[in-house]
């Protein structure tokens, strides 16, 4: 049974790194020491009108300093509240949650789209193999330079302002990228396209999915996705994204 903790984390620093996108470093007691790339944490609001935790992917892990980095977009009042927290303020978090990415020693494509980009950063740092990183943005770039330290980076922008004019698969094709394994996180249409692409090329493919969550730990069955086979736990064709996921083999899940 994986270790999970509820803690009062402390904001080490926070900055807006792109329009409406924030990077926050959190000092934890234990969570960072147990966290893996692709896992997430639940963050709780101070305001009493908002009860549910906000699940946010871990972007970087500093195990030595027991610190975690998250990079998130303001998507509502909860994340807006988080974005106003200054250095030294506390925030209640639970984690690490979910399974995280597998680490395989195969030639890899790491593909991130939009706010699905951050969780790939820790993975890129961890993977000790040949890796190509494809990042898709609507317009404004973020985290690009940090990924560049980890491998070759290919960019696609929807407005064509940088790199390939189009989506991440356009960038894969334009640059003739090949791999034995794909790790990806991003919007559902992108993940669907990657699932089809990986199937057609017979590439192993791992996708990090997203869904509205309540408990974040597997109890409430809110955040399920359809699975190809009957799931061991649920005994139906549903998998819990917060527990069996958020990272799944592409063939396992239907979404």
């Amino acid at each position: 049974m994986a270790e999970k903790f509820r803690e009062q984390a402390v904001i080490i620093r926070q900055e807006e790194i792109s329009y409406g996108i924030y990077s926050m470093w959190l000092k934890t007691e234990q969570i960072a020491a147990y966290a893996r790339a692709g896992q997430f944490i639940s963050l709780y609001c101070h305001d009493g009108s908002r009860l549910l935790p906000r699940p946010i992917s871990i972007c970087e892990i500093d195990g030595l300093d027991c610190a975690l980095r998250i990079v998130y977009r303001i998507a509502g009042k909860g994340t807006e509240e988080f974005s106003a927290l200054r250095t030294g303020k506390q925030i209640e978090i639970v984690g690490p949650l979910g399974n995280g990415f597998p680490h395989k020693e195969k030639k890899a494509l790491l593909i991130g789209g939009g706010i699905g980009i951050p969780p790939l950063l820790q993975l890129a740092k961890d993977l000790d193999c040949e890796k190509q990183i494809v990042l898709g943005y609507r317009d404004e770039l973020f985290l690009k330079d940090e990924f560049k330290k980890q491998g070759e980076v290919y960019i696609a922008t929807e407005d064509g302002s940088y790199g390939t004019d189009g989506n991440v698969l356009d960038a894969v094709r334009e640059n003739g990228l090949e791999a034995e394994i794909i790790y990806a996180c991003g919007p559902t249409p992108m993940l669907r396209a990657l699932k089809a692409y990986a199937a057609s090329k017979q590439i192993e493919c791992w996708l990090s999915l997203e869904e509205r969550m309540a408990c974040g730990i597997g109890a409430c069955l809110a955040c399920v996705c359809k699975s190809k086979e009957k799931d061991d736990h649920t005994n139906v064709h549903n998998k819990r994204i917060c527990k069996e996921g958020p990272v799944f083999r592409a063939e396992e899940v239907e979404f």
């Binding site: 509820r6 009860l51 549910l52 209640e92 639970v94 509205r212 109890a219 809110a222 649920t234 139906v236």
Partner: protein
Amino acid sequence: MNMKVNIAGVTLKNPVMTASGTFGSGREYGEFIDLNKLGAVVTKGVAAVPWEGNNTPRIAETYGGMLNAVGLQNPGIDVFVQRDLPFLTQYDTKIVVNVCGRTVEDYLCVVKRLAGQPVDFLEINISCPNVEAGGLAFGQEPKMVESITREIKKVAKQPVIMKLSPNVTDITEIAKAAEAGGADAISLINTLTGMKIDVKRRAFALANRTGGLSGPAVHPIAVRMVYQASRAVQLPVIGMGGIATAEDAIEMMLAGASAVAVGTANFNNPLVTMEIVEGIRSYLEEEGISDVKELVGAVGA
């Protein structure tokens, strides 16, 4: 100081239970709290066969609460008995199995299957607003409530708790119907039917359109119904609906509940049940009350 309460002949070590559907079968929250310290664990609803539940999104946050439309996804009674029940029996807590169904036969099938099992109570969910057949349809009509209670009592080997819906004009009629059917206890409130619309997409926030509202937002409605129902019948009442603090739990007991269940608050704080048990104990100490049972229905006394 006595924290024990008695429901239909079964003694709970304290009056704090979990609310069905928010706590799985205890395994997940068992990573955060000591299940031995709970008065009882109430399981997620279990049916005769596995249920897939509703499409996603199944959940939406609301002001001081949340809507859910999980749709009673469950692994079915066989897996429950083989896997989840043995997990729970490791702990020194009472086990309440929540039972759901689409037809009366569905309920009876589960109840019979549990007859020889190490289960302390059956809680019969006739009040889920998120399934097409069964659920709420059974719980809004007094005659139906009475007859399904009677059928279940004929085959049940454990005390039967009927779980009531707040989506009714008069909760006392429903409570009396459960009593007339032979229920050993009633629990209330299940969720209130609600809806959320995403104004940006101009679309329903939940795939199921409507969902069940829970959380502190509904607590005053729950307290009122527990108060009314507990005065309308002789049965013990298990009070739930928006309990998030020891104060909320005490309020519910003062209104007339013999025990309480904590649901949505677990999502906000996985340790909340432990804090509520401790908080009730502290309250009794501060107030010089030696027995938690003295709180039951003690409002205005």
